[in-house]
Amino acid sequence: MAKIIKIKAIDGSDVEFYDEVKASGGMKDVYFSPTKQYVVAFFRDAKLNNPQNKDRLETICNSYKERIFNQVGGSYWQNLLAWPDKVVQHGGLIGIVVPFYPSNFFFAKGSINNDFLGIRGKEKNGKWFVSAKNQNRHLDPQERGDWFKYFQILINISRAIRRLHAAGLAHSDLSCNNVLVDPCTSGSGLIIDIDGLVVPGKYPPEVIGTPDFIAPEVLATKHLPMVLNNAINPARKLPCIQTDRHALAVLAYMYLLYRHPLRGKKIHDADPVKDEDLSMGANALFIEHPTDKSNRVKVNDLQPSQLPQGDPQKIPYTVCGPYLKKLFDRAFIDGLHNPASRPSAQDWEDALLKTVDLMQPCQNPKCWHKWFVFDNTAKPKCPFCGAEYKGQLPVLNLYSSRRAGSFTPDDYRLMVYHNQYLYPWHVNRNISPNEKLTAEQKKPVGYFVFHGNKWLLVNQRLNDLEDKTEGERIPLNQAVEIADGKKILLSKEKGGRLIIVQLVANV
């Protein structure tokens, strides 16, 4: 056993760790504490042990942390952001103390064949899950989770990034290395390595990012000097909120589609390093660009283990539904070389939440995605396994009232499946499912069941529920049938919604 080193943090508190590197990142080496309540991560480069960096790290551990965590509902963020607690200096190096990650972010099963890779107990680095090869060939099925969980993970990540950006902070090195995910139990995501935070105009970033996630303008200008005439060179693009938005879009594409949005067949240079820089930088081009087809994926270039996910012909990005398609278009077509057009973290959170309401469980028990997004057709089918949906499928179109007596569409649909719950944010336009929800607002208000060959909505907590077509109030613990064309009022309160039912029958 390595010996225990005892030091004092800069704030005077005691810090202990085993003198043995347990993990190494691009910049830091990580040591474990004996209590396993925290880890100590030292920056390998002694040059970073300078007053400016010390000041930056202390600001992150103190005022920035307070700005986010010491607010009403601040504790919510502890599950999404692994924020450093304190700064330490030891052996000429500077480091940070970070809380140990919750146990669901470590593999319980690991890989197939009784964990032939030996990853049980290791961190669930996002790369395990965004790679088709790792999904198809390596991970134990119990670790892989279903498609719904990846939406939940992305909602959590977008929410955490939205909060950072709202505080004026950029993560600057968002990548699947710096996001731990748990698709098998909770669908949660945890942003780690928050020590690289960039505050516009205050501290220059220490990193430019991680390959695959670096924004094109940053890669295209990385050869330029940082400082010109004693000032930051304006031509040199560095990580900021807009580059975080690029990384977030890449993460979303990779978590949902298991391939990289810019990695296609187009050759930019015979030298692989230059080719890589150009294909992710100055010449970056979306592999599913609607008109410029020069960077399409050549299926013959893929390994068999990358299929079928690697082939956009088989599984195009439109399987993610209309709301996300719009955002991918903004991120990889309009905004790829025009940072101001990129969707914000808030845009992603909203679109993901709306998409979740379009999801249907696949009826094929062998389908490993288990869920798909309703494709707006009369004959819905799972794009992953090809199974057609059999039976009646209710689609609820949500309307809300902006002035008394008239309801206008909200561009919001809710797909119904057996045993699905209805929540307050479906009932009222002014409620959004985010960290501000009260405990009461997190509870369902009704549920849907397919019973006696009919679709029913059972009222649990809706005082105003009314079948407008029949002109009947539906009291608590009673059900209303969901039939084609029916109008159902959910709430009479301000922002309250009306449902108009469409029934897709596929028998």
Partner: protein, 211 residues
């Protein structure tokens, strides 16, 4: 999908007999198992092992990590350290195994080369001839690790970008070297510093970086 080819050259002449060769075997196993725990490496790294004494032999052709079994390395008996011939042999293997970029197809990443030897070349004429050929192969990086008694750095300095010297070729030193090799192989997927240089993890404390 680009592959990252990694070539490992191991000297197996008499000078390596005993603890050094045993430690190298264990080190290779450790390296493969730690690379298998890296999801980035699993996607891209392909490994080849070439041993050499009087003759070179490719005991492991370029193979992806998940399918890899490190073959047995026999206890060295033969005298003669034909480093030049080994490098020539490896260059031919690279020509046949590594995919170059063409206007139609993306090629592999530039290969990495790790050489473990005592730095002697009994075939000095061939060795001198082959150095320019090695340099033309555009390796991503070449690391030479000197082991054995009285290692000579002059030869390997001519082609290796970095040379590390092990004071003692005991098993723990060699294992820490291979841990460093796997960390160096993985480094391409980590955060890139704003100064645009990849900072390798520090070599293990027992190893001295000479160049």
């Amino acid at each position: 999908m680009r592959r990252l080819p990694v070539y490992i050259l191991v000297q197996t002449s008499g000078a390596m007999r005993g603890e050094p060769i045993e430690a190298i075997k264990v080190g290779l196993e450790t390296m493969v198992s730690s690379l298998r725990q890296d999801p980035f490496a699993l996607e891209s790294v392909h490994l080849s092992v070439i041993t050499f004494n009087r003759y070179p032999e490719q005991i492991l052709p370029l193979t992806e990590l998940e399918n890899m079994q490190i073959p047995a390395i026999a206890q060295p008996t033969a005298a003669g350290t034909h480093l030049g011939e080994a490098l020539e042999f490896m260059c031919k293997k690279i020509d046949s195994e590594v995919v170059l970029s063409t206007p139609e197809r993306k090629g592999d990443w530039m290969p990495l080369l790790f050489v473990m030897c005592d730095g002697r070349a009994s075939d000095s004429q061939l060795f001198q001839q082959i150095i320019p050929v090695v340099k033309q192969k555009h390796f991503g990086s070449i690391v030479a690790c000197l082991v054995g008694h009285n290692p000579r750095k002059e030869n390997v300095e001519q082609f290796a970008g970095s040379v590390v010297n092990m004071d003692t070729a005991d098993s723990s030193t060699i294992r820490s070297f291979f841990k460093w090799v796997s960390a160096s192989v993985s480094v391409g997927n980590r955060s890139v510093g704003a100064a645009d240089e990849i900072i390798l993890p520090p070599p293990p404390p027992e190893v001295h970086t000479i160049v």
